[in-house]
Symmetry: C2
Subunit: 338 residues, 2 copies
Amino acid sequence: MKVTISDVAKMAGVSTATVSHTINNTRYVSSETKDKVYQAISELGYTPDASARSFRTGKKKTIGFIVPDISNKFFATMIESVETYLSQQGYHLIIANTKENEEREEVNIRLLSAGLVDGLLIASTMDSAEKFESLIPAGFPVVLVDRTFDSKNFSSLCVSNFQPIYRSVCRLAGKGDHKIGIIGGLPRLSTTKERISAYQQAVTDCGLTVDDNLIRYGNSLENSAADCLDDLLDQHCDAIIATNGLMASDTIMYLHKKGLQLAKDIDLVCFVDFNSSFFQMYSNQIDSIVQPVEELGAAAGEQILKRVEDPEAPIFEKVLTSAYRPYNLPNSWNHSDR
Amino acid sequence: MKVTISDVAKMAGVSTATVSHTINNTRYVSSETKDKVYQAISELGYTPDASARSFRTGKKKTIGFIVPDISNKFFATMIESVETYLSQQGYHLIIANTKENEEREEVNIRLLSAGLVDGLLIASTMDSAEKFESLIPAGFPVVLVDRTFDSKNFSSLCVSNFQPIYRSVCRLAGKGDHKIGIIGGLPRLSTTKERISAYQQAVTDCGLTVDDNLIRYGNSLENSAADCLDDLLDQHCDAIIATNGLMASDTIMYLHKKGLQLAKDIDLVCFVDFNSSFFQMYSNQIDSIVQPVEELGAAAGEQILKRVEDPEAPIFEKVLTSAYRPYNLPNSWNHSDR
DNA sequence: GTGAAAGCGCTAACAC
DNA sequence: GTGTTAGCGCTTTCAC
């Protein structure tokens, strides 16, 4: 049967307290006693039971990460860097995948916050901040990642979307493009809103006319760009901006299928997943916007652990900056400020 | 402070047993009593503590999945389908990412099997079956996924690698290719071994000569194919087989960079991640092998829950079949038998 | 330098 | 139809 701490204590001829203190280094134990304890442990093959431990201490040493789409390389890479950071700190990672579905997110928040994890990292797909907030138990450690809400009630780690989009529009306009279409993600997401508004401002500032028909929305998941593209191509766009990696690769594929040549028949600006062979192949034909995913993941890991240790810590917000790289400037990865 | 089951009991004027039975539907409770209980629960905002519960029952309602590489689309998709299945059954998924590192796998097996999860799904990167087995506590529910060991001591879900590779070699030989190179993953993996041996047998059977220089090994991670390709191109291969999606996309990119035209200058057979735009673009220039990832993930979820419920269940092995699709037969996705 | 024992929140015999 | 209560395995206070 299961071997417990008292089996070890009995065998070593000491108390359970001593065994506990020995394995946790939590008070002085003479080295002879230690030896006896470790001896007994290895003889019995004892492993402390994690759930008893976390029940007793209230610490699960586990963080939950609620993601909209694991199979999106952006999030996959982020998960990877979060996991790397957390495991170095002795924490585990529980993944929940919402597929951009608000109910799934709701269910997962409830489930995970009910004593399963010490804290939650969330790239939320929710529309309403109020709804979201009502789901989080008071004082429960939460850090928003990539996507945030206007009401700044939670710590957050995001990527600045404004500057790279703004710059890319200016550059396209400078090249003489007049009709610049944009494919956004789900309209309710903060990232989408920021990107679209950067686009609108830049279009205005560059002296072009804002035409809402040039703004199309995908669903942030795979294979959602085609309809948007049909619309945009019908309107004879000179350029298209695809605002996430998944929709960007769909776009490249679609244009390819239509026989349109990038940078010649049509200009393309893409949010690009760094390290993905797909985009590397096109780096000399499209303007790329690369988000600092790994940095984001590591910072998210760091922040959530800070909050777990001190749930009353002041709200922390950080906005990382994306790199913008127009294709005819191959050697300068412009790090845009803010 | 934290509201517990006895707060609820007190407020509802019943015993904790009744509260417990009410929320778990585990014995008859009159509807008036139920009402009082639910009333108290919502008034107090009570949520049962998951760790107390799992400590008490011994069930964590959580499965661990040890993966070699989250950011590989093959595994990302698999995680997604495992998670979908498990969450439908009321289970959670803990992810551990080994980056094809044996020590990281070892650490994670230890950590997760020590009372954190009810069972473990493992796509192992280990070389030695003995080593692996020694890490698994006796009777602990484990299902091997994608990769297996010769000693059949665990249930496993794999994909048949032999037939599609064999067929693709035959087809290349039939087209007149003489020098067929192959890029395998890590040599220690069962999948790599199977694929290489299928290659060797087919080469022999087709009357070509087996040349070990034509067999190169990557590390199963991203950006590991370049060196292999240099070697292979130096030897003037007519065709190359890339045995996982990551190395396949590296290969396409690399050949592209070298200015070689697929299907013209060189034939290419690739393990391909279904649904990935990248490969869809090349589907008329390369022979594709598509593994049934989603099916694999769902089956893995099913099997591990079976084992969790009955750890003494007989060992289960299933080999799913990949689809092989030569590029000039665009409408027939050949489902290879075995 | 070590031990005794309380008790974390819940479930499930057992009792009536 | 419901209540009483032991106890899961561990950590930690208090005591010596």
